[in-house]
Symmetry: C2
Subunit: 130 residues, 2 copies
DNA sequence: ACACTGTATTAATACTCTTAATACAGTTAT
DNA sequence: ATAACTGTATTAAGAGTATTAATACAGTGT
């Protein structure tokens, strides 16, 4: 379910956070679904439970999971998550355009890139079917 | 000339590399200009000369500066740099479009963002006047 | 000779990430 | 109640990296 990349410079717990958020976003982990337990996920990934614990603590802090003591951790109702993600996208996208301008890329070129890339990407991924 | 951000998680030497590359890109540091000496830049930034040395070694490895022993370090003829930067941009931009598709953003929306952001950014920055 | 350049080395310190070994409290099923 | 799960907390150790510090050496220019 999750594959770690040890060549990645970022710490493992961050990768775990990212992957789990992605699974929530994709709907593989649905609202109120139980998260894998700290120990079992640690076993799965062959890493220390403390490292998973750290990732879970951060996910809880972000409001993406909630904890019921003794029972486990569960996926939150995460409307906020998709909003956050979209907000981040918008910021990054406008930064990209600033960079494009610095690089002397014209708006026509940008439009063309959007067009080409969009078609190509949709063809591969299947794109935004909700 | 350079301001370090100690809240940034990345190491100082990486920030120094980034800032110096930016100054070259902007033309503040022109081809064959002398770079500030290791010791003087270290003084300026109130950090250890070794840290600057590390940044310079990396800049040389990337071909952005060249060294004349006993004289100093100088800005390379860096056509490659702008090409590299453009290449990086293209990769990132297509990644962004993939993300947009995941977020269910239509190509029309993307085109509109490009349009709005481009005009706004050019107005502020003055944009790609070379 | 002196004051600059870059470069190299070694040591010490600090910080972060990760693992390991426990321990404790709450839940659930038997 | 006991066993087997949950999450949480703590403490210690190890590894790796970033940074500083103190030198030393070689080349350049005045």
């Amino acid at each position: 379910m999750i594959i770690l990349d040890y060549k990645d410079r970022r710490p493992i717990y961050e990768q775990v956070i990212e992957k789990l958020e992605e699974l929530m976003f994709l709907g593989v982990l649905k609202e109120h679904d139980p998260m894998p337990s700290v120990r079992s996920l640690a076993m799965d990934l062959s890493i220390n439970p403390n490292t998973i614990q750290r990732a879970y603590a951060e996910l809880e802090r972000r409001g993406y999971i909630y904890v019921v003591k003794g029972k486990g951790s569960f996926v939150s109702e995460n409307r906020t998550m998709k909003e956050n993600r979209k907000r981040e996208f918008l910021v990054q996208f406008s930064d990209m355009i600033d960079e494009a301008i610095r690089l002397g890329i014209s708006d026509q070129e940008l439009h063309q890139m959007v067009e080409v890339q969009y078609k190509a990407a949709v063809k591969i991924t299947g794109g935004g079917e909700t």
